[in-house]
Amino acid sequence: MTVSAQSQPSELHQTRRRQPGVLRRLLKNLSGTAGLLLVIFYVGVGVMGVMGATPFPPNEQHARDRLQPPSAVYIMGTDLFGRDLASRVIAGAAHSLRVAVTSVTLAGLAGTLLGVTAGFAGGWVDSLLMRLMDVFFAFPALLLALVIVTILGPGTENAIIAIAIVYTPIFARVARAPVLAVKQMEFVMAARCIGGSSIRVLFRHVMPNTLAPLIVQISLALSWSLLTEAGLSFLGLGAIPPMSSWGVMLNEHRALAENAPWLILYPGAAIALAVLGFNLLGDGLRDVLDPRLRGRK
């Protein structure tokens, strides 16, 4: 996003048409490729779970096969109730995917809208909105999620809302910065001068410049959202058993780990791989889309 070098509108608009190029450049980036593969794998498994394509129904109890180690029938073993762990891990992927995608979509839309509005409007609107965001930033993420879950009660939908609210201010900040940067530039002035309405200038000329940092942010936010969901579920404040959530599984099984280590190893590996995928993809996207940010956190 080298905005400063591009003052002609036609060049700026090409950011949006350059999508295939982004993918090609991403595939040349090692961490980007690895991340993309992991994310595709995770999404694939998640879709399997959504469609119910699991070896066994995830909540089916096989009373005679409790706490079985991994075998040809139960590839990841079974839990205390004789449920097939592989099926539950797949269902857990579906669950976490649903939560992560929904909450990040909500946070991304709300945050971008707030951030762009604040940056574009400036003045008291900007001050008010950003001070409000500061208050949300004053809470550690998990604490804020806990407060929201206190109000709404535990459950998957409520966890989604909580996570969405927690990450909205981050998107607001990320979206606001590029708006402030381009607002005063000549091409925006020009668009105004030829009679473009505020809305048109905002959507056609200003918003495309927020795209690169937002895409990077989405990838990272998906990994945080996964972690927050698992954390809430682990504390018993997210998904409610017998729902297959990786956090719930780890919490339920940790007392059994000594005798049945597969019960924590597989869900644990699932979380770590999914988070790893989004992180690597985010890093790769940042390198490709926004070289100036390289190396920063």
Binding site: R131, L132, D134, V135, F136, A138, F139, P140, A141, L142, L143, L146, V147, I148, V149, T150, I151, S223, L227, A230, G231, F234, L235, G236, L237, G247, L250, N251, R254, A257, E258, P261, I264, G268, I271, A272, L273, V275, L276, N279, G295, K297
Partner: protein
């Protein structure tokens, strides 16, 4: 410097007020009123007169603005109300539990810095070697493994390989038996510090790499200083500035992490107190503990800003 201090302090107050408003409003947003929510199904057995007297006991019959003013005034003087489940003042409960959380956080930060900074420096100095790769892998593991996973794995390893249970027996405070206390706290601290040390490693390594390419480092080498001196005296000072910021930024995650680690290792800290209060619907406690933790977090951020300004002379005090 003084002007900068005052400015930061003035920015700090509105945030604290905002935080208290948010916490206060959040509790008022709970569907139904606090009494119904606290008592659950038993609320149905209250007569109207009993309900009214409870409402007036908790001050719920007053206008909202007055309720907030009373609560905020109480908070300033150290009165956060009484916990319905514990039957004790919220302030006492916080005072009782906070030292455990503070000790856990301080031990975690210390461990993370002791491990993260040297490893980060070595990885930068031995850039692109096997050691560098190892450190980067370790940092990546810390980044992608949530605390509850690390903790569960540590407990698993301890119990199978060493036959010890870190959270067996009653918790002993530091002033009662320092040795036993440290033995009880060390694994939770390692768990909590693991992710943190990963960020410290990454940050130290990348900022060290950046600094090592600078002209002044070449000058230091050129005038014949030993490599060790170049790194410890010249490069390190500047390389550590981003690490200081990182410590501040990550303190929040650390505080958030204590909720999970304390629950996992059964430590009687503030985080577990809050998590239990949420599931037990002890709203006075939720409100007080949340306000306290958020205030501590805001305070840490303020301190980090000041430390940052002190270590980095490039930051202007007269902005």
């Amino acid at each position: 410097m003084r002007r900068y201090l005052l400015q930061r302090l003035f920015a700090f107050l509105p945030i604290l007020i905002g935080v208290s408003l948010l916490v206060f409003t959040a509790i008022r947003l709970i569907p139904g009123d606090v009494i119904t929510a606290t008592l659950g199904t038993e609320a149905g057995m209250l007569t109207d007169a009993q309900r009214e007297s409870l409402r007036s006991y908790y001050g719920l019959d007053r206008p909202v603005v007055e309720q907030y003013a009373r609560w905020a005034a109480g908070a300033v003087t150290g009165d956060l109300g009484v916990s319905t489940r514990h039957g004790k003042p919220v302030t006492d409960l916080i005072g009782d539990r906070f030292p455990v959380t503070l000790q856990l956080a301080l031990m975690a930060v210390t461990l993370a810095l002791l491990v993260g900074i040297p490893l980060g420096i070595l990885a930068a100095v031995r850039h692109n070697t096997v050691f560098d790769l190892f450190v980067r892998m370790l940092a990546l593991a810390g980044l992608v493994m949530p605390g509850f996973l690390v903790g569960t794995l540590i407990i698993y390893l301890l119990s199978t390989v060493f036959g010890v249970l870190p959270n067996a027996g009653n918790f002993v405070r530091f002033n009662e038996d320092p040795g036993l206390n440290l033995r009880q706290m060390i694994f939770p601290a390692i768990t909590l510090g693991f992710a943190f040390s990963a960020s410290v490693m990454r940050m130290t390594r990348s900022s060290m790499l950046e600094v090592l390419g600078d002209d002044y480092v070449r000058t230091a080498r050129g005038k014949g200083l030993r490599e060790r001196r170049v790194i410890t005296q010249h490069a390190l000072r500047n390389a550590l500035i981003p690490v200081v910021t990182l410590v501040g930024v990550e303190m929040g995650y650390l505080l958030g992490g204590t909720f999970i680690i304390e629950t996992l290792f059964s430590l009687p800290g503030l985080g577990r107190l809050l998590v239990n209060a949420i599931s037990q619907r002890d709203y006075a406690l939720v409100q007080g503990a949340t306000l306290f933790i958020a205030s501590v977090f805001v305070l840490i951020n303020l301190l980090v800003d000041l430390v940052y300004a002190a270590v980095d002379p490039r930051i202007s005090y007269d902005r």
